[in-house]
């Protein structure tokens, strides 16, 4: 990261406290795995050794919303489930981000029917949509990197914009 060189020169360097916080947030996004259907299998694959989400600092899948920063909604959200998803989202501490993983989550996908919510952005602020049915693990990792870039740039999370 080049920090060592800077430190070797003078023994200190200056920065904004915001930049420091953003930097630390970027590299430890703890996911809340909202695995509702088959996308969850790809999410698990992304967490396992072959794709290894730990390379991006997100290996700590927390099953408690209170300890997580980013919710990966992976699967078909029905109207009945929407209340549960929202309740878990509400329990996450700020700042928080949401990835809508897969076609069903983003738009209802192939379930164009009365029981399925046609896109979770009707009740959740979504930061990033991932295409695919289900998306490949690389695609999920790409989404994570995109969110990391957003945080690095200091962009607000979608939850802060409304």
């Amino acid at each position: 990261m080049g920090l060592e060189n800077k430190l070797n020169k003078d023994g200190f360097f200056t920065s904004k406290i915001d930049a420091l916080i953003q930097w630390s947030r970027t590299n430890s996004l703890w996911p809340m795995p909202m695995g509702i259907s088959c996308c969850a299998i790809e999410m698990m694959a992304a967490a396992a050794a072959r794709f290894d989400i730990a390379r991006f600092g997100s290996e700590v899948f927390r099953f408690s919303p209170r300890q997580s920063d980013i919710m990966i909604v992976a699967g078909t959200v029905t109207y009945k489930m929407s209340k549960v998803v929202r309740k878990i989202y509400d329990q996450m501490p700020d700042p928080k981000w949401v990835i809508a993983m897969g076609a069903c989550t983003s738009s209802g996908g192939m379930y164009r029917t009365y029981s399925v919510v046609q896109g979770i952005d009707q009740f959740l602020p979504v930061d990033l949509y991932v295409a695919g049915c289900p998306p490949r693990p690389e695609n999920l990792l790409n989404a994570l990197i995109k969110i990391q870039e957003k945080i690095k740039k200091g962009e607000k999370a979608a939850s802060k914009k409304i």
Partner: protein
């Protein structure tokens, strides 16, 4: 099912208003809900008929003026290894039939599903609540006059 066994079943059910038909090689009993409890208990408990297993209960919406609804039960005999269907045609305005839970306990959730999707009521069911849709939901989604995408505003989403 062999012919001999079918004749035996027919001979035991002569007292009731029923018809027999054939669905792709499986015999079917077509009847109305009046004597359904007695017919079913005969089918289950007579040792030489012995349909001890209820595989499924399905509702059908035929979308016609008379006898619009139909309930189809699929029975299986573990002893004789054959199946039979029971088709019960129900009233259009007030589709209602006695619950089969008294005979086969497994009918409980099948009947709840049929009630949830088509609004067919089962008298004497121990716990006739919706099984898929939210309990406060007012419509029956598998009826033919129900729109595919549902009725707007009938299901509430959490506030954003």
């Amino acid at each position: 099912m062999n012919q001999k066994r079918l004749e035996l079943i027919k001979s035991r059910l002569t007292d009731f208003e029923i018809e027999f038909s054939d669905i792709n090689g499986t015999p079917a009993i077509i009847t109305n809900p009046e004597n359904i409890i007695i017919i079913c208990s005969i089918l289950k408990s007579e040792p030489d008929i012995s349909f001890e297993m209820l595989l499924d209960v399905m509702g059908v919406d035929n979308f016609k003026k008379e006898n619009r609804f139909e309930v189809v039960c699929s029975l299986y005999s573990l002893e004789f290894r054959d199946r039979i269907f029971i088709k019960i045609s129900l009233d259009t305005k007030n589709p209602e039939m006695p619950s089969l839970t008294a005979i086969w306990k497994g009918a409980n959730w099948f009947e709840r599903e049929t009630y949830d999707m088509l609004g067919i009521k089962f008298k004497g069911h121990p716990d006739l609540r919706r099984i898929y849709m939210p309990e406060e939901y007012e419509h029956y989604p598998l009826r033919k006059d129900f729109p595919l995408l549902g009725i707007p505003e009938s299901l509430q989403l959490p506030k954003k």
